[in-house]
């Protein structure tokens, strides 16, 4: 009996690019309030710098082994080149899975509240259902016209239907994670989905299909369809009301988004900015409100 040889990996297909941007032309020196929202997710960390409640700069990077280090790194990176120092931030709010590890945050707020608030900022007051698909969890959030949470459901015990599930799959079929969605849509006919209850089982099934001679594209379609089914189950339990939006890193995967659209027969609103920022944007906006309250400005 021969056991499998140790795998030598030359590529890390799961590794998505890290980035930072300054998006505003304004001069922050003329501004009243500068805040930051720091979202330490299980897989990705995001920092937004908000000037008078508007996005000024941001950064997105992988969460490292020590959340505190990541929190410092992601915030300093967002500030890089802007001339703003950490000490100049009037108020910082931490959110996400590692929110208690943001050393300079005055307050922490759950990612549920932040995603609803951030979606309200990105998409406007008509948003009623926010689907956030992150690295290790998937949340369906119902909210009101002010971006306040009405109810929510969350899957946080199982990797099926999350970004981690996509990372595992990217490695399996050796396709960079950013291209997975597109690849999964390049089939003429949708194959039956693989099992959607467990990433390990879905991976094993996908491997068997590849060995049977299925093309990568077809296996990708079967895998994405399974993920979409799983996410729809969660959404239907919380109930969907228009307008519907998708946030989190997986919102960038067109294979998931288009399949959700097909099953639900609801078109999600087009994002006006990077949907991965929703949590950090919400935190930055809460930071502004908290600062105003603290200073007796409201």
């Amino acid at each position: 009996m021969k056991m499998a040889e140790v795998e030598v990996k030359t590529h890390e297909y799961w590794r998505w690019p890290e980035y930072r941007r300054t998006v505003s032309e304004k001069d922050w020196r003329n501004a009243g309030i500068i805040t930051a929202g720091v979202d330490i997710g299980s897989v990705g960390s995001k920092a937004t710098i908000m000037v008078d409640g508007e996005l000024y700069a941001y950064s997105v990077m992988r969460t490292g082994g020590v959340s505190e280090d990541t929190a410092i790194k992601v915030t300093t990176w967002a500030l890089e080149g802007t001339g703003i120092e950490v000490g100049k931030l009037h108020y910082v709010v931490g959110t996400g899975y590692g929110r208690v590890n943001v050393p300079f945050a005055k307050k922490t707020i759950t990612e549920i509240a932040c995603h609803a608030r951030g979606a309200h900022y990105i998409y406007g007051p008509t948003v009623r259902t926010v689907l956030d698909i992150g690295g290790q969890d998937c949340k369906a959030i119902r909210c009101d016209e002010k971006g306040k949470v009405v109810s929510f459901l969350m899957n946080d015990k199982c990797a099926a239907g999350t970004g981690r599930g996509l990372e595992v799959f990217a490695d399996l079929i050796s396709v960079p994670i950013q291209e997975l969605g597109k690849v999964s849509l390049s089939v003429d006919q949708e194959p039956p989905p693989v099992s959607n209850t467990c990433v390990i089982f879905a991976k094993a099934e996908s491997l068997a299909l590849l060995r049977q001679g299925w093309a990568k594209e077809k296996v990708a379609a079967a895998y994405h369809a399974a993920m979409a089914d799983r996410i729809v189950d969660l959404l239907t339990r919380v109930g969907i009301e228009k307008d519907f939006v998708i946030t989190g890193g997986v919102a960038k995967n067109t294979g998931i988004v288009q399949r959700l659209e097909r099953i639900l027969r609801i078109k999600p609103l087009e994002p006006k900015m990077d949907p991965i920022l929703a949590g950090a944007l919400g935190a930055g906006l809460f930071a502004k409100a908290l600062y105003e309250k603290e200073q007796g400005l409201r």
């Binding site: 082994g65 290790q136 209850t197 390990i200």
Partner: protein
């Protein structure tokens, strides 16, 4: 009477040849892509070991998730297929006649079965999540960078209890990596992994209740690190038979010998 039991599992195929109630051969091998071929090769090995040919076997019963691949298909030509739960109960009774509770943990499934005289009274199965099965230990061994067969002995060297939060194989892998980063020893992490899987299996088994004697079978029973935390969780002694991974195939062979049961 000579019969055979073929257990085509998620990972291994196992064959037991039974002659007048005595085991005359056992064989196992990994299941490859061609399930029928893998199972047939194991069957051939067992026949050779017993010095028999297919014509000498009066009846063959198949079990396991791949049982239908060998049912009435040459060269095995199994006469009948039975569910894993039924085969487990019959096999466990053959090994320990006083058995009342069977815990079977395979590569992809965990089962808890209440039995009486070799017959199934009640059962519970986890077939939806890899975290309660052998695959979990394999995935964690990869994350820890140790051989899977070293995991159990490693865990027995630790006396510390470190809780694992992750309920999912994929998340647990990341958690193991961060435990290693925070300088927790491989022994302690290994114990934490075994405690976690024992916790999952026991909460499943408790749904059907536990009554002595309790038998632990399936491939995971070969792992010496698994029984101690399971005994602790279930507050009972657990018997691990000599060939725990063959109990189900043995059960199938026993059923084959008693067609009128």
């Amino acid at each position: 009477m000579i019969t055979a039991g073929v257990d085509v599992g998620a990972k291994f195929a196992k064959v037991v040849i039974l002659k007048d109630g005595q085991v005359s051969a056992r064989a196992k091998a990994l299941v490859g892509f061609d399930v029928l071929k893998s199972a047939s090769d194991v069957f051939e090995t067992a026949l050779k070991d017993a010095g028999l040919s297919r014509g000498d076997i009066q009846r063959v019963v198949a079990t396991g998730m791949g049982r239908n691949a060998v049912l009435q298909k040459p060269p095995i030509n199994a006469d009948e297929a039975v569910s894993e739960v039924v085969a487990d109960a019959a096999g466990a009774f053959q090994v320990v006649p006083t058995v009342k509770t069977v815990i079977d943990v395979g590569a992809e499934e965990g089962r808890g079965i209440r039995v009486e005289g070799g017959r199934v009274k009640d059962f519970v199965i986890n077939e939806r999540c890899a975290a309660g099965a052998g695959t979990f230990v394999e995935a964690m061994a990869r994350a820890l960078e140790v051989k899977v067969e070293d995991m159990g002995p490693l865990s027995l060297k630790s006396t510390n209890t470190i809780p694992m939060n992750a309920q999912c194989c994929v998340f647990a892998e990341s958690e193991v990596v961060s435990l290693i980063h925070s300088k927790i020893s491989k022994e302690d992490v290994s114990k934490a992994i075994h405690d976690a899987i024992a916790g999952r299996i026991s909460s499943m088994v408790l749904r059907v209740g536990v009554e002595k004697d309790v038998l632990l079978m399936g491939g995971v029973a070969l792992n010496p690190g698994f029984r101690p935390p399971l005994e602790k969780e279930l507050h009972t002694d657990i018997i691990v038979p000599e060939f725990p991974e063959f109990v189900s195939a043995l059960g199938a062979a026993v059923i084959a010998a008693n067609p009128a049961r």
